[in-house]
């Protein structure tokens, strides 16, 4: 809560920024839970011994409807391989269709630009200790322009605030920035 207040004071005053960020780390956490839970292979770095617990539906064996979605996914991520999370979800093409539309909407440029969203998703993945999320969002953040300096800044924020949150929880600190969180609009 303290940093929502600080962020509002620093220029993200409109609630739209915070809704978008919440969508990003929420969707990211959902994807990561399933991807790591099912031990899906990492898409952009060596997976080591990870073997998927469900069959991944490959492009060649997919229906025309799923192929259309796969093509859109590959264009969005600028990759020739559909990330494994979507190949795992493709067995229910109705679910995949709507879920991908939601992911695409959440990560597209809007009030927050796509790079900021990927930095948020990367941090959320590190905080959740998600191998899948770190692989996907580190690749995306770098592709969209995150420098090594910027990456270290994300790493430092994750480290510091993973520390602060544990201290706050352990000592049961009650929020003291609430009065600064004026609702916009």
């Amino acid at each position: 809560m303290a940093h929502t207040a600080a962020g509002k004071l620093q220029g993200y005053a409109d609630d739209a920024y915070w809704y978008e960020a919440a969508y990003v780390y929420g969707v990211t956490n959902g994807i990561n839970a399933v991807a790591d839970g099912l031990r899906l292979p990492l898409d952009f770095s060596d997976s080591g011994v990870r073997r998927p617990l469900v069959k991944l539906l490959e492009f060649e064996e997919a229906s025309d409807r799923v192929k259309e979605i796969y093509t859109d996914i590959m264009a969005f991520y600028v990759t020739e391989q559909v990330p494994s999370i979507f190949r795992a979800l493709a067995h229910d093409d109705g679910y995949l269709t709507d879920y991908w539309k939601a992911v695409r909407f959440v990560f597209q440029d809007s009030h927050l630009d796509r790079l900021t969203k990927e930095a948020v998703a990367l941090a959320a993945s590190m905080a959740a200790k998600s191998d899948y999320g770190v692989d996907l969002h580190l690749r995306e953040a770098r592709r969209l322009g995150l420098t090594e300096k910027g990456l270290m800044e994300v790493v430092q924020v994750v480290q510091l605030f993973s520390c602060y949150t544990k201290i706050a929880d352990g000592l049961q600190l009650e929020p003291d920035f609430t009065h600064l969180l004026q609702v916009s609009g």
Partner: protein
């Protein structure tokens, strides 16, 4: 309810006044946040960790507002209300 008693401002050593003034200015508030009081209970922690925090949160490759937003995401994942 906190599980420790947080010290009042006057109970901290005078040497911490510049740190507290800086914290108030940093957040644009007129009181000392509880987390700052916790970190200042042992001043060596506030000096070192506090410097790391400020070094991290200033504008760099990412703007401070982006970093604050990332901090919120980390707090949310860690399920922390503070």
């Amino acid at each position: 309810m906190e599980t420790v008693r947080l010290l009042d401002e006057h109970e901290f050593p005078d040497e911490l006044k510049p740190y507290f003034d800086g914290t108030k200015a940093w957040f644009g508030i007129d009181y000392i946040p509880k987390m700052s009081k916790v970190l200042c209970y042992q001043p060596e922690m506030s000096r070192t960790h506090g410097r790391c925090s400020r070094r991290t949160l200033v504008d760099g490759a990412l703007k401070r507002r982006q970093k604050e937003m990332i901090a919120v995401a980390v707090s949310a994942i860690n399920a922390c209300d503070y």
